[in-house]
Each structure stands twice: as C-alpha cells, then as structure tokens.
Amino acid sequence: MALSLAGSKIRVLLMEAGGINFDPTIQKMYSGTETGTRYAPLDAGRLRQLGGGTNHWGGWCRPMDAIEFEARDWVPHSGWPFSRLTLEPYYSRAQALVEAGPWIYDLKGNADNAAEGTVLPLNGGGLYTSWFQFSKMRGDILPTQFGNRYRDDLKRAPNINSLLHANVTAIRLGANSKQVERLDVATLNSHGGAGKHFTVKPRMVVLACGGIENARLLLASNDVMKTGVGNQNDLVGRFFADNPIPRDIATVVSFSGPLAPFYGANQNLSDGTIMRATFAPTAKFCRAARIGSSLSTIETPVELDETGKAAVITTAIALGVDASNAKAYSLGCGMELMPDPDRRLTLSGDKDALGLPRLKLDMRIADDDFARFNRTMTELGRQLLASKAGMLRISCHTRDDWMTRMDWGHHHLGTTRMSADPKQGVVDGDLLVHGVGNLYIAGSGTFPSYSASNPTLNLVALTLRLGDHLKKVMA
C-alpha cells in the first residue's frame, strides 16, 4: 500500500504493529478464541511483523476468474461492485511486486515438460487445466517476503515514514462520526506491557492490518459509533471466510502411467518462471452445476486397495484401454466457501496487553459447500472416463470425511466486505468505509465473494488500484 504511493506528493506514515522479525510476545496480541467448526487459532495463519502474512505464505499466485466478480444467483451475497476488467490494469504491476515472473498462467499452458509424462485431456468438459505461478524473490528465495524484500524501497521513498512497533489501538471519529479525527497508537514495553502512547492526526487513513485485525480495530473503536466504526449495518466481522484446502479428497488414476511432472510439483520453466497445473471449473460449468469455484491439484502417488484395482481393471477393459501401467494419485483442493453472515468475528471480553478487546470467531462450513465441490469432482471423473484417460474416486462423503482431511489456506476474507450498497457492505467500490469520509480498507477482508484463487496477487492488484484512487482524491 505504502509503496503504491512512493514518489507521490502524499506524505505517508506507515505504522506497523510488529518489527522486522517475528516476536512471540508481539504475536500474542493476535490471540483470540474460536468456536464452531474446528479452525486454526487466531494467532496462527497471520504474522504481526513487517510484511505480515507474506513472511510465511506459499507464493501461490493466480488471478481470480471473471465469474468470481459477478453476482451469481446460486451464491448468496455474491458480486463485486465492479468486474474483473476494473482490476486488469493492475494485475501486471501486482505480478511484478509478487515476483511471479512474466504473466503466463493459462496463456501458455503445458508447453514445457509435457513430454515427460501423461497429460490428461479433459476434452472441453466442465473442468480445464489451469495454472498457478509462484512468487520467487531475488536470489531464488521462494516466495517474496514483502517486508524483507521492500524494506529498503520504503526507506528510500522520501515521502514515506515507517514506524515499527506502532500499534493502533483506536480509530477516533469526530463528533459527527463522518471523519477519522485521530488514531491512538501505543507501543509495547520490553515486558510485553503498555509502553508509550501517542496520537496521529491523519488526512486519510488506510487500514491494512489483515482481514481479521481490520475488523477488530473497527469493532473496538466504539466510542462514537457504539457498534464500531463502519458498523452501522452490523456487517463488520460478518462473512468471515477462508479457503478450505483439504488434502486427499479424491484419487485420480491415469490409465497410461505417470502424469507429467507439472501436475504434482512446481516446475521451473526455462525462463525461471515456476508453474503448476490445477483443475479449475469453467464459468459455463459453474453456472450449469451451480457450484462455487475450486482448484484441485495432484498431490502424491498412492496405492490402490483391492476395490480400487478392481475398478481400474473393470473400467479400463470396458473402455478398451490398456491400464497395465496405471498410476494413482491423491488430489487436494482449494475451495471457495459460500458467503455466510453468521460466520463471524465479534469482540470477546478478554483484552490484550494494550487494552484492545480480543476477538472470538464463530467458524462454520456448510455441508452444501462440500456437496457443491463433489459435483465438481463427479464432473472431473466423468471427463477422465469420456477421454479414456483415467478415472477418479471421491473420498469424502460425510462431514467427518471432510473434517479429518481439512486444512485451511489462512486467507482471511470477507469481514469488511465491499459493496456499493451501504446495507450490503462495509466499504464501497473504492474501498472507502461507508459513512466515513477519510477511512479506507485494504486487503482481502474487502472481498465480498471469495474465489478459490489465493488472494495475494488479487489483493495486491486491488491495493494498487486504491493507491491510484488516493493519488487522485488527494491531489
């Protein structure tokens, strides 16, 4: 966010609650409680230090699909205030910042490495082979850690001042509640208690603390607006989402033998770009089958049990295919959850060392989210049969099946959702908090519906757009 304003006439104060490196005392400021569906602790999956979550992200990049910006009548509360076209001009800059190499994704496909194994032809069905690219920092460090990578750029920018260990503890609105008047800021002392206090009087404020912490600050800043800043319609903290990334949710068999290496592992292209194949549903199939987005990725080779062997032998013979070299693999996925207002963050009675209320997460995942994904898997299985390339076994049929395989992407989404309608969103299409004239929010917490693509590339593009907007309104 700050770098997008570097070199402009805007004087920027970047306040980072953490330091350069990880500090467990500082990290503890993030802890909270979780109820409902088993989920990661609130102090896991995010990092309170310069660069935030990029200090532990996996570097997976993929632009959101155009359909994911649309209001989909089978996805409640879906729809961005603009289409993907609005973000297009920012994707190339975002791609450069995450250092994922040239923009290739689905443009090039499997030209490299295809000869080294079987390529699964999906023959125009509901799913197609799509591509991830991977962030790679200078010196081949994988992936780009923003704090480490861009710290010097921040220092060099004459219009940016960076303050580390500066915890914003309250957003203070003016009496008319229409403007942020000041920010209360505090440091931690060497014992982890309250240190120095000071205030900042900003012209404009951008909250970029992550999808969880942004909501916490808004809710906790309730001296003027009793329900919290921007929460006049009880939306802040609601619609929390993440991308479930359960492992081993299906088995894929390739009749003709080992799959090309780009399915199961990251592949270096000759120009250094790192790519990996994934199975994605087409927009047409999403509409027809009324499913959410997903990205399914080959994991590791597996051995089939006796029923599995019987299934492969019987089906391959029936299709007239030689499966004597058949190879089986487990499949993992990243799923898009349906927006749910009751999956939410609220303030708890506990407070952190600086007196800020901690959060409580009520986590939910609907059986329908799983059912929609299994429709996607059935279609992939059908396509493999139709192309006589292989077959598929769906492993999860009960909630327990899913939850024993569950992991999470730690992509914190939805808590300050974007909508042109103040009754449907916390921020508008420019990321300005409805009703507050100088408070913006950056990050994936503003995504009103979520995609299955990893959010970083997309939220960076959205943030760059906000940077351009601020340059315009502050000129």
């Binding site: 019987a310 299934a311 089906t315 013979i317 029936a318 299709l319 598929l392 076994r393 049929h397």
Partner: protein
C-alpha cells in the same frame, strides 16, 4: 459285461480328463456356472474383478432389475461403446466413491449377484 465295464471305465477316465482340462484352462479363462444373465455377463472379460467392484454398489437393485435395465441399453459386444456413451452423456454413478459409467457399474453389480 467285461466290455461294458471297459467302456464305462474309459468314459469315466475321459470325463475326468475333460474335467481336469476344463479346470486347467480356468487358469486362462475363468469358467462360471450358467446364469440367466450370461448374455450380459459374457461382456465382462474379468468377471471376478467386476464382481469385487460391483459388490460395493450401495443400494443396488436385484439381479433381475439390473439385467432388465442393462438389456434395454446394452447390445451384445458393445460394452465399450456403452461405457463411452454413458460418460459422454453424464450417466455416471459412484461405486465405493469411484465414478463409473452407469453400464459398467450395473454390469459389475450384476456380476456380484450371481
């Protein structure tokens, strides 16, 4: 009497040899007792594996119902075409989680019931 006994003995030996040969060829081509569904089951190259798979079809109809449904769509010698047509038309079903062409699933289930 003696001649009749010799003939009977030769016949018995012949029958035993034939039976042995029949069982010996089981190593190469599995033999099954005749069933009312052999017109369908003969399309399975490996009925044993199909039976193992078909036994896992949850809530499978009885053999007669399966056979009637199969006969309505499966012509002799055309299992491959039927399986491919099923996949193309979206007629797939799960057996123990495996997504199968409906014809393959039903034929396997039938094999498991005889």
């Amino acid at each position: 009497m003696k001649r009749r006994a010799i003939i009977a003995g030769v016949a018995a030996v012949g029958a035993a040899a034939a039976m042995g040969l029949y069982r010996f060829t089981d190593l190469f081509v599995k033999h099954y007792p005749p069933t009312p569904y052999d017109d369908l089951l003969l399309q399975l190259v490996d009925r044993q594996q199909a039976s193992r798979l078909g036994a896992r079809l949850a809530g499978a109809p009885d053999a007669g119902t399966l056979a009637a449904q199969l006969r309505a769509g499966l012509k002799p010698g055309e299992l491959g075409a039927a399986a491919k047509a099923d996949a193309a038309a979206g007629r797939v079903m799960e057996v123990d989680g495996w997504v199968l062409p409906k014809t393959v699933a039903f034929l396997s289930a039938l094999a498991s019931k005889v």
